[in-house]
Symmetry: C2
Subunit: 148 residues, 2 copies
DNA sequence: CGAATAAAGTTCCTTTTTGGAACTGACCTA
DNA sequence: TAGGTCAGTTCCAAAAAGGAACTTTATTCG
């Protein structure tokens, strides 16, 4: 299988990865969530080549994760913003971040904490079931494939 | 920046991606969670080249996500199993899956549902704060960088 | 016995993707 | 007019992925 065939897989993990499962994409999105919107800024922060950044932004726009918006004319310049579909990726980013905080220690001491916007308290993200509040782990869950 | 430099970044998202942010890795792990343990099986299911699969498995073992275990001698053969660190990635996989189910529709009708092992009920995974149970979205959370 | 099969890789070669750095085009400012 | 800014594009070399055949140790089939 080639990478591009993932889009049409029946497994949602594969389809998700067809959008964000590539080398730089999630880092671009991380910056978007941090409020970075301009090409130059992203390129400098990420240290990604301009070539690849342009390509990733184009794909994310095609996939409806980012939207390209003019922020000035003369000369015409665009910036990138998360769409609702893009914003919905926040839990993916947070879950990955939480995993890395616990399991992939940094070489230099430094880390990230999530704070509640309402109360300012430190948050401890966990995956739960919306209905029962039950924790979701590999131990108490099974997957079922629904072929209709 | 090169890909390999991500490991030493201070941002946990970057460190996380240094382990799983590559083209095939999450699909390999998906199969691991589905109980696939053997090289041949993975290779066939994923359609990945043997070359790349061998490389990914080696890296995942180095990173402590999988563990290589002999399941027979004469001839000596190994299989791959998730370590605790690997199992802790389950929420990342689920969150991605939930996002794709909602935002990346399949071409053919088919999908995945998560079921509780206890009750058999359909689960709806959401990210919440462990202490308050509050939903975590990009709207009600901010990130703070702790440089100590 | 010899041939075929199996599992888990490795090797070799071609095609794609990246990395790196310079270049472009439309403006703005000193 | 020279230089700066921003958002790319172009070109070339290096790295990674795709594809297919080959290897090694051992088992089964005829």
């Amino acid at each position: 299988m080639k990478w591009d065939d993932l889009r049409s897989e029946s497994c949602p993990v594969a389809r998700g990865l067809s959008v964000i499962g590539d080398r730089w994409t999630m880092l671009v999105l991380r910056d978007c969530f941090l409020g970075v919107r301009r090409f130059e800024q992203m390129q400098e922060r990420l240290g990604i080549t301009r070539h690849v950044l342009a390509d990733r932004l184009r794909k994310l726009e095609e996939d409806g994760v980012l939207r390209r918006e003019a922020y000035q004319e003369r000369p015409l310049r665009h910036e990138y913003r998360l769409t609702e579909k893009g914003k919905a990726l926040y839990p993916v980013l947070v879950t990955l971040m939480a995993w890395a905080e616990e399991h992939v220690p940094p070489e230099e001491k430094s880390s990230m904490t999530l704070l509640s916007r309402d109360t300012g308290e430190v948050l401890e993200p966990v995956l739960t079931d919306a209905n029962t509040g039950q924790r979701i782990t590999h131990r108490n869950v099974t997957a079922r494939r629904n072929t209709e």
